[in-house]
Amino acid sequence: MSDQSGLVKEALGAIAKARTEGELETITLDYLGRKSGQITKLLTGIGQLAPDQRAALGQSANEAKRAIEAALASRREELEGARLADIAETEAIDVTFPGPPLGRGHINVLTQMQRQIETVLESLGYRVELGPEVETEWYNFEALNISAGHPARENWDSFYFTPQLLLRAHTSPVQIRAMQRSKEPPIYIITPGRCYRRDAPEATRLPYFSQVEGLAVDRGLTVGDMKGTLLYMIQSLYGNERKVRVRPSYFPFTEPSFEFDITCGICGGAGCKSCRHKGWLEVGGCGMVHPQVLRNGGIDPDQWNGYAWGFGIERMAMLKHNVDDIRLFYESDLRFLEQF
């Protein structure tokens, strides 16, 4: 018995003095190790003892073991507590020192803008449709009611390869192709893509640019539906305080036709220098699809009607990100592209 209490005392003393986890580990082995632990050794001769002695010895050895284990656990806790109490000092780093450069690449601002527009319109059930950039005269003009000699045609001065083949001046040809493909409405599509017009490059326009056009063909669509769609789109992209107005205009492929404007983001519509005191910024064109255009797409205008709209992705990005020169988008100066 005294052996055990001596051992326990000795062990507890050692535990109290231990300073590290390693020392505690050693103590554990010394006393409780499965082969050579001192408490364990006490039990080696237990088999030869009488049953009652055996029980007594077993019990007291177990008590000794529990006492040591408890002391070990509480000392561990003490040591861990002390260590954690210190790390604020011992492991402190300079948190203001900058991290290493990440070399992150950037998804183009126009891709980001296009995707945002798509996301908004997809949430209304529109699907993305694509088409060729080199188009035929028929799809680019004739099918859209802009026959040769039409007075409005000079608004779409185009690059030609042959008299019948040109770079599309808008993504409207995709609308015709989509109508022809669909056979039967409803049609709800958007047509993002690159377009080309023969305009000399300057701060507000380029001979190459990108558009998103939208087309809805269904039964009984109204100017109100078109306005609501544009309003939802604009407020989703620019915030709830923006207003949209449609202003009568003229395009050969819609009747009625409109320009659509949004309130200036700087003055909120009151008029300021940046909107030339108009309060409104011109964004794009829209209108109810001309019955002849529906016919050209193979759709019966007595059964169905539609609305369509179009605008430049660059223009939308310029409004959103305060870019004042459209040429920056296609110049690919990384100092510009890395801002987005």
Partner: protein, 794 residues
């Protein structure tokens, strides 16, 4: 189109309407007012010049005036000599802001005190004449200039091409009247054809050779006119619209053009030889000295007005100098005609000459307008230039304007607008816009648009007329909502699917660019990638005259630009179409494969570029994995833009997608770029087509065994070939084999290399024993030995 506000009030009562309100009404109706200019003349005073002497000391030509300002006399210095004693002139006193924005100050010029300024028309924004002081017709010294010239408001209006009727004040006034719901004071002025004998048609013979290009030609003869200056009010209105006054006859033709939108021309009757008019095509070789002093070569496609010998005007574009009205003119032939719009447009374009007349004709004018315009001009000429207007003009009218009727179901208004417009209101709006509306028994309307509205032909046009006056801002915003028996499933767009690759590229440090598809054809030639190039026939410049056949030249250009701006390392990519004309047929639509082009600067040394090559391969592999496509394979390849020893063909399921590798040194030097470039360009459509949704695999339940294997082979043996053998021989337990190191050096013989592989073995059913793995390893070694003469390092 510049509109004088004052002029509008001839036609519509603008009492209590501010110019700003009027501008808002017009914009709402579809005539967008882009600028509103207010010229306030109330601060400018009338002065009378008492004395004028040349400045005795100034080196510049200056004149010193004594000017009576009613209650006192001031000394004022001016740079123009035309304010002679007795002239009435506009004077701005020190501290006054002149309409052009200048503020007048006291000055002392070479010892002469000057108080105030004599103003030119230009400074008062009353025209562009800055050659001299504006001399007034009347006025009392000391009074505000407003007593002589009303303060002016002008509006710049953007007129859409379907509304040539609004290219005149009358048309704009009609719109304003409809928008304000006020009656027109007058519309077309009362008819006037003259009274003098003999009939005008007996004095001039008109024939139209090309009735398709000239629907109508009216020639009115007016004799005994007195050429002189127009009255001040008329000059003022012309100036307000940016037209320079010339003489009364020319001014009146311009005035009526600005008022009715009908272009007119006046010939000197005496210069027509004989007084005959032929509307015909120009003959080859004919020339015409035009009113602007330029002699123009005419081509047979151009329509001209000619007497029996020579062209005297280019139809609808510009008149000739020789037959123009001059101070000596006494008799004129007044022309009011209707020329074909596209013919005029083509001629004007051919000549590079866009005039007030051509910009109206080219929209297509109604033939009925010609007579109204001619009558208005004749009555003004009789009033302001005297002379007698001969009755019964020549009026050749081969293509009479057909009246248009539209059968209209008024319910269409509500259906299209999504708003209820009361029928009476719709009818009233159409009537305000000069449409005749006759309700029929079946409830539909028979609608007759006014003669000046050729743009209205279908029911939808009438909905627009009602809608724009009723106000589109009153249409509530809604979204389409219908019961559906057919649904359009939402599928991710190609662009959105490719975003997975964009994210990988962004993570790897590559920035996406959008570059112009039009590039220099010469550049493509010099890079030898022009075989399928399509060249634009009417390019703006030769640096963008051809569609690119590859994205890589654009990306190399991006490196060049960024290097020039101080950036050394450039990692960029683009996703866009390349354009490949079909072989042998450059008139068919080209193939437009959507491609991924990636480019990175890769240091200066061969070793650095080699490292970059393998890094780019990893990027491409990761992009494929992100797109859900199976991994691509790489084979030794060759392509014009790439280094012949460092080019891989990228293959997916046996199909060539494109190439990757180091760019050919010649490419970098073409762009004057130092150092090496690593790039790839592949078609994306097959990758997306091969993309599959990931299917979950059960996680392995038993541990894997990994073994490394260092294989020594001849230099020319490709790692890919060794891997193929390993995979083939490795059997079902070989889970993965990967090459991780290539070694040249003292430990392997000259001309050989050592490639290290890590092989992972695993069974789905149990833990493999070392012996089992050893057996497979031995087979692999034997296979490599046999096929590639491989040896092995421990």
């Amino acid at each position: 189109m510049r509109i004088s506000y004052e002029w509008l009030s001839d036609f519509v009562d603008l009492k209590d309407v501010t110019p700003k309100e009027a501008a808002a009404v017009l914009t709402r109706l579809g005539l967008e007012v882009e600028n509103l200019t207010v010229v306030d003349l109330s601060e400018i005073i009338v002065g009378k010049v008492l004395e004028q002497i040349p400045h005795p000391k100034s080196r510049n030509p200056l004149w010193v005036h004594q000017v009576d300002l009613g209650d006192h006399v001031e000394q004022i210095i001016a740079g123009a000599p035309n304010a002679v004693p007795g002239s009435l002139v506009p004077v701005a006193m020190p501290g006054t802001a002149v309409p052009n924005g200048k503020i007048v100050r006291d000055m002392n010029i070479a010892g002469y005190q000057a108080r105030g300024m004599l103003c030119s028309a230009d400074e008062l924004l009353l025209g562009d004449d800055h050659s001299g002081i504006l001399i007034l017709d009347s006025g009392k010294p000391g009074d505000s200039l407003e007593t002589v010239i009303p303060s002016q408001v002008t509006m710049d209006i953007e007129v859409t091409s379907n509304r040539p009727d609004c290219m005149g004040h009358l048309g704009v006034a009609r719109e304003l009247a409809a928008g304000l719901d006020r009656p027109m004071k007058v519309d077309f002025m009362p008819g006037f054809t003259g009274t003098a004998n003999p009939p005008g048609r007996d004095l001039v013979k008109v024939s139209i050779d090309e009735p398709g290009l000239c629907a109508r030609y009216i020639g009115g003869v007016i004799k005994g006119v007195k050429i002189g200056a127009s009255p001040e009010w008329l000059q003022r209105r012309l100036r307000a619209c940016g037209v320079r006054p010339i003489n009364n006859i020319v001014d009146i033709t311009n005035y009526v053009l600005l008022e009715y939108a009908q272009p007119l021309h006046a010939f000197d009757l005496a210069k027509l030889d004989p007084p005959e008019i032929h509307v015909r095509h120009a003959h080859t070789g004919e020339k015409l000295l035009c009113l602007d002093g330029v002699e123009r070569q005419l081509t047979p496609e151009m329509l001209v007005i000619a007497d029996s010998h020579k062209p005297v005007a280019i139809a609808g574009v510009i008149g000739g100098e020789e037959t123009a009205v001059s101070d000596a003119t006494t008799g004129i032939l007044l022309e009011a005609a209707t020329f074909n719009g596209s013919s005029v447009r083509q001629t004007a374009r051919e000549l590079g000459l866009r005039t007030e007349a051509s910009s109206r004709f080219d929209k297509g004018l109604p033939a009925e307008l010609a007579l109204a315009g001619a009558r208005r001009a004749a009555s003004l000429i009789a009033e302001l230039a005297g002379g007698s207007v001969h009755r019964e003009w020549a009026d050749v009218y081969p293509l009479p304007q057909e009246p248009v009727r539209v059968r209209f179901r008024p319910g269409l208004i509500d259906e299209m607008l999504g708003l209820h417009v009361p029928l009476e209101e719709a009818e009233s709006i159409l009537k305000r816009l000069n449409f005749h509306v006759r309700p029929l028994e079946d409830g539909e309307w028979d609608v007759l648009p006014p003669v000046f509205r050729l743009d209205v032909t279908i029911p939808q046009d009438l909905v627009e007329e009602v809608g724009r006056v009723y106000g589109y801002d009153r249409v509530p915003s809604t979204l389409p909502g219908h019961r559906r028996d057919k649904w359009i499933p939402a599928v991710p767009s190609i662009g959105r699917r490719l975003d997975a690759a964009r994210e990988v590229l962004a993570g790897a440090g590559f920035t996406e660019t959008w570059n112009p598809a039009l590039v220099s054809g010469r550049l493509l030639e010099s890079l030898r990638v022009d075989a399928h190039a399509m060249r634009v026939s009417n390019a703006l410049s030769d640096d963008m005259d051809t569609l690119r056949t590859s994205l890589l030249p654009s990306l190399v250009g991006v490196v060049g630009l960024n290097r020039d701006r101080g950036r050394q390392e450039v990692c960029v990519y683009e996703i866009a179409s390349a354009f490949l004309a079909p072989v042998g047929d450059k008139s068919a639509q080209p193939h437009e494969p959507m491609r991924l082009g990636v480019l990175a600067t890769a240091g200066a040394s061969a070793d650095a570029a080699r490292t970059s090559f393998y890094a780019m391969k990893s990027v491409l592999d990761a992009a494929f994995a992100a797109l859900g496509a199976p991994p691509c394979t790489y084979q030794r390849g060759a392509q014009e833009l790439f280094h012949p020893g460092r080019c891989a063909a990228v293959v997916l399921d046996g199909r060539l997608l494109g190439y990757m590798g180091e760019l050919h040194p010649a490419v970098a030097s073409t762009f004057k770029i130092e150092g090496r470039l690593v790039a790839l360009e592949i078609d994306l459509e097959p990758v997306l087509a091969a993309s599959r949704t990931s299917r979950a695999q059960p996680l392995p339940r038993f541990p894997a065994v990994e073994r490394d294997l260092a294989v020594v082979v001849e230099d020319h043996v490709a790692a890919g070939a060794l891997l193929a053998t390993i995979k083939e021989v490795g059997g079902e337990y070989l889970e993965q084999a990967r090459a991780f190191d290539e070694y040249h050096g003292p430990q392997v013989p000259e001309g050989q290399k050592s490639i290290a592989f890590t092989l992972t073995f695993r069974s789905p059913e149990r833990t493999l024993t070392d012996a089992e793995v050893d057996r497979v390893m031995t087979e692999i070694k034997i296979g490599l030995q046999k096929r590639h003469k491989a040896r092995f390092r421990e």
